[in-house]
Symmetry: C2
Subunit: 242 residues, 2 copies
């Protein structure tokens, strides 16, 4: 039986979502609990990997299990009782046999949160920007990155990728409570891509680079043309569309 | 010199704000750091005490120090470097000599947050209500508690109080992102008062009691007439007006 989960996690204390030989990961914790529950080796598929420190408000995961006594829509209860406090399964359901969290996904949306002042309750989830965020100007500049483009300049130079083409459907800055959010929707992302995009827009916001410079960064197809990757702490995988 | 701080704290791991012989408290942590900074016994005054588990988005504290080399508006920097992660000083300033956080306060505002669904990032800060919250009906019923009234039914029976009269200026339910908030402003509060008010309104919301029953609870002046005190986790001291 193919099971789909929607999960949340606080990325602060994980070395990213994807399982690796050493270091605590979301997939590692989840598979360890699933192996225990089903007394079998369960392999999970995530909609996409999130970097170390990045959070998820809605990550989608699937895995195949032997027929289960627990109805699929109730599997999240025992899972939550076994998982650590920084992972929460919000729902579980039976999925079509050919559903694959990663390959079936059409669009993925991330949000990056910026706070103006320190706030204890947002310290781990929002980046402090002690200057005005010019929402209108940013939304105008954001058009430069919309569409099917080569995002090599916005990809970690360590990444092993053949294809740098991503189709960015939307980039929108807006106010959210006392904070400002950048929401981005695309079919796929390269490693560190959202965080490098945020860095570029913060430089633009401070008047250090122009719209034309953003275009140049894009056209150079060279990671060194863009500023350094911003902190992961304001970044959330927000939702995945199928 | 009289110093005023605005502080935030996550109440989850405190036995309330007020210092006590045993158990970790906000005042205890703060005074321990101040004593260290000034090599003197510093006594702090809080605008009001918050119960065990209650959070503060803006608590106001004052204390007198010998003349200081650090400018008052910068005192919060060394304080934050010494305080634990669940207390954050958001500002420090010189106050008038006769300013007293508690006695100078005119109004105090609390917010109680209700979530509809589990959310990892709000688990410690919002109470899950798995049923509809009828905002309009609640705002109508809330009028019963507005004004200068005897709130003995809404006070912990353990509290040692002579005067149960509180002047409640405002009770308002409203939507806030995916959550619902009850905001209350009053000149003073009795022990557990906001949490007992929330309990009463939740019973009303579920149709278990009527507006007339709320009036009866108020008029009985007896703690036993009201339902049990709700969890502190959704409750924040939101601001203090002087």
């Amino acid at each position: 039986m193919n099971i789909m989960l929607k999960i949340q996690y606080d990325g602060t204390n994980f070395f990213g979502s994807q399982i690796q030989p050493a270091g605590r990961t979301v997939q590692g914790e989840l598979e360890s609990v699933l192996n225990q529950m089903y007394s079998a080796r369960i392999v999970t598929v995530f909609s996409g990997r999130t970097d170390s420190g990045v959070h998820a408000r809605e990550q989608v995961v699937n895995f195949h299990i032997p027929e289960s006594k627990i109805p699929p829509e109730k599997i999240f209860h025992p899972l939550n009782s076994l998982l650590p406090n920084d992972i929460l399964v919000i729902s579980s359901e039976k999925a079509d046999d050919d559903f694959n969290s990663r390959y079936s996904a059409k669009m993925r949306t991330y949000r990056y949160f910026f706070g103006r002042e320190h706030n204890l309750f947002r310290e781990k989830y929002s980046l402090i920007c002690p200057y005005d965020i010019k929402i209108e100007e940013l939304n105008t500049a954001a058009h430069i990155l919309i569409g099917k483009k080569d995002f090599q300049s916005f990809c970690s130079s360590n990444a092993e990728v053949n294809n740098y083409i991503c189709n960015v459907k939307k980039i929108l800055f807006f106010k959210y409570n006392d904070e400002v959010v950048m929401e981005i929707t695309a079919d796929r992302y390269l490693q560190n891509m959202v965080r490098i995009i945020v860095s570029v827009f913060l430089e633009f916001n401070r008047g250090k680079i122009s719209q034309n410079d953003i275009l140049n960064i894009l056209e150079k197809k060279d990671r060194r043309s863009a500023p350094k990757t911003i902190s992961p702490k304001g970044l959330f995988l927000w939702k995945v569309d199928y």
